[in-house]
């Protein structure tokens, strides 16, 4: 059963950054921070793939690259399958000690790339898939994805006289991945970097398919001041809207309890312009729905 998460104190990273500075990511970019931490935890004995999206665009404009590990981008929807091919090749050549990490954004993972993701998980190939979730298609201008939260404003789910924004619930990607009976599936956030790095290291010690969902706030798309990325990320956890969970073979094994740190959902929503339209007399009903989403998470995973 779920037990209390005790974040181990990991020394600050001393390794040379494998996603170097000088790339074109926005100030305050949660995804750039997430990828940097994932790579630092993984170390240089790693081959990485990436889906089309912000991460690829801001880090690899030819003739430059910000990557100090072998890295490949092919298409939007095949990061997992390209990693599967790399893993198979490494296995065939007896080089199984090399980490293979597939990366994608929320759209590239949960929407257009979910077929390839399901394939690599079902075959239990020795790949760690990392989804950097900034909750919309940021690279193309903040359009709604299957991981956009309820009521969020995006450029294709704008609030209006007949709408409160995105009218669909965020897809439960962790549950989808865990249901493949893989040995490790977890959520993490750039708000808690040590926890994130610990989960990457833990995943890479396990043979088979691993999935890590990383919450990465986006100042541009979520509409907040660039200095608030970590605060926004932590508040998502403390409100119950983004639970930190570890699962093994489809069973919850560990959660981060928020009983002592719990905050009302408004603390999270008010930090961001994408939820601004909810704060009116008419929006009270919608806020109640979001409170219920948080409460359901807390009840389901036993976060209190």
């Amino acid at each position: 059963m779920a037990e209390t998460a005790k974040t181990k104190k990991i020394k600050p990273p001393v390794e040379e950054a494998l996603l170097t500075s000088g790339h074109r990511g926005c100030a305050g970019c949660g995804e750039a921070l997430g990828a940097k931490l994932v790579m630092e935890a993984a170390g240089p004995n790693t081959i990485a793939t990436a889906a089309t999206g912000c991460l690829e665009v801001f880090s690899t404009a030819f003739p430059e690259t910000a990557w100090r590990v072998p890295w490949i981008h092919s298409l939007f929807e095949n990061s997992a399958a390209v990693a599967a091919g790399i893993e198979a090749c490494m296995r065939n050549k007896g080089m199984e000690d090399i980490n293979v990490i597939a990366q994608g954004g929320d759209g590239g993972t949960a929407d257009i790339g979910i077929g390839c993701l399901s394939g690599v998980l079902e075959r239990n190939q020795n790949v760690l898939y990392v989804c950097y979730d900034n909750e919309a298609y940021m690279n193309t201008g903040v359009q709604r994805s299957g991981l956009t939260p309820y009521d969020a404003r995006t450029s294709t789910s704008p609030p209006g006289t007949e709408s409160w924004g995105n009218q669909h619930q965020k897809k439960n990607l962790l549950a989808i991945c865990a249901a493949h009976m893989i040995p490790y599936a977890a959520t993490a956030t750039v708000g808690f970097p040590q926890d994130l790095m610990m989960k990457v290291k833990k995943a890479l010690k396990i043979k088979g398919a691993k999935f890590l969902h990383v919450h990465v706030p986006c100042p541009l798309g979520w509409i907040y001041d660039t200095k608030l990325t970590i605060e926004v990320a932590r508040t998502a956890v403390n409100t119950g809207l983004y639970p930190l969970v570890e699962m093994q073979f489809n069973k919850v094994t560990r959660v981060r309890k928020i009983g002592k740190t719990r905050q009302p959902v408004e603390d999270y929503l008010k930090l961001q312009g994408r939820f601004k339209h909810l704060f009116s007399e008419a929006g009270k009903e919608e806020l109640e729905k979001i409170r219920q989403i948080a409460q359901d998470n807390i009840d389901y995973y036993g976060l209190e």
Partner: protein
């Protein structure tokens, strides 16, 4: 070793001898027997490759892309809808200059759904940057696989190669074919050792974003290399002939062309039928020959002009059409001879679509009906209720 086997089995044997590191494929008729045989070899410990059962052809193409980028040799097979689903990845593989080899068991495209043979599937990928080779029989398709890797993996080329065989007509036909020894194939096709691959000891970035100041250069190099590959395709066919004694063409092949005045042009398995028809017509005194297009991409314009000499008429027979333009081979040949001093009359016939039989009698009718005329985009053997007035050859 001589074996009496199905075309698909011959391909599977030859692929195994080429020692791929990774095989990934998704089931689709009529390609299935190739990968079924490969998976059986794997199950019996004969095939030392990882066999990846993927979730789609899109996944299959992506898996072999990753495997080759990691420095391996990789194979997939597909057809028709599967090839179209791979389409986005196939363009990407060519742009990334990864020498993947894919077998296409050519089949018609839906709708209406049809599992039977024509060349509509591969034709749609002709602008993707892949080398596309077409085989006429089961010996040739088997021999084409080691040649394909040898062409694609040439450090000066580094391009993917699509080897095409007619679905059912070749895939499911049992013929006696010669399968070389492992040692002979190892001598012909050494292990793949690319200069650049995903290497933790020398990290490199693959698949960068190219902004306007760089993109065109990558496309120019792709264009230039396809042109350069013409010489390599010929050379590899010659090397194969020297080692194994078998040759059914490099970029093209010819049959009874010496004094030919009228020449059939075609690709794939109908070549065999055409050769028989030519033999019959020759007995009646007709000066007729055959030009087989073995490489659709790169398209061998120079070679075609060279072998056609003073030929008076070309009769192009093809199993595909470019809607809104016309027969693809027909148009390629018309452009081949544009402003050429010996420009033959070129006629184009579309036939064999969706598995419609191509009997010798039909070819004779085409031969007779087209004499001295330029006939374009003529659909052959249409049912009378559909055939336009004045159709030359109807059912």
């Amino acid at each position: 070793m001589r074996m009496m086997i199905e075309g698909s089995m011959g391909v599977a044997h030859m692929v195994m001898l080429c020692r791929p590191n990774v095989v990934a494929a998704y089931p689709i008729t009529p390609q299935t027997h190739i990968v079924e045989n490969l998976s059986a070899f794997k199950a019996d410990g004969k095939l030392d490759a990882e066999f990846i059962n993927v979730e789609s052809e899109f996944g299959a193409a992506s898996v072999v892309l990753g495997a080759v980028a990691a420095g391996g040799r990789a194979f997939s097979a597909t057809t028709a809808q599967g090839l179209l689903l791979m389409g986005e990845v196939l363009h990407n593989i060519a742009g990334m200059r990864l020498p993947v080899v894919i077998n296409v068991s050519n089949r018609s495209i839906s709708a209406p759904i049809s599992i039977w043979n024509d060349h509509s599937d591969a034709i749609t990928l002709r602008d993707s940057g892949w080398i596309q080779l077409f085989a006429e029989d089961n010996q040739e398709i088997a021999d084409m696989h080691p040649q394909a890797w040898k062409i694609g993996e040439n450090p000066e080329i580094m391009l993917p190669v699509m080897v095409n065989m007619d679905g059912f007509i070749l895939t499911h036909a049992v013929e006696t074919i010669e399968i070389p020894d492992q040692k002979e194939i190892d001598e012909f096709l050494p292990p793949y050792k690319p200069e650049y691959f995903l290497d933790v000891k020398a990290p490199k970035t693959f698949g960068n974003l190219a902004e306007p100041q760089w993109y065109a250069e990558t496309r120019y190099k792709l264009w230039e290399t396809l042109e350069d590959s013409k010489a390599v395709i010929e050379k590899v066919a010659d090397e194969y002939k020297a080692k194994f004694g078998r040759y059914l063409g490099g970029l093209i092949d010819t049959y009874r062309m010496d004094d030919a005045e009228r020449v059939f042009v075609a690709m794939g398995s109908m070549i065999g039928t055409i050769k028989d028809v030519i033999d019959d017509l020759r007995q009646e005194g007709e000066k007729v020959g055959l030009l087989k297009i073995r490489s659709l991409r790169p398209f061998p314009k120079e070679k075609i002009r060279e072998v056609c000499g003073d030929v008076k008429e070309l009769i192009v027979l093809e199993k595909a059409i470019s809607f809104g333009l016309g027969g693809v081979l027909q148009e390629e040949l018309r452009s081949t001879f544009y402003k050429h001093k010996n420009q033959p009359i070129i006629s184009g016939f579309v036939l064999g679509l969706g598995g419609r039989d191509i009997p010798p009698t039909t070819l004779v009718k085409i031969y007779e009906a087209s004499k001295g005329k330029e006939i374009l985009n003529e659909f052959v053997d249409l049912r009378p209720e559909v055939a336009p007035k004045g159709s030359l050859v109807t059912l």
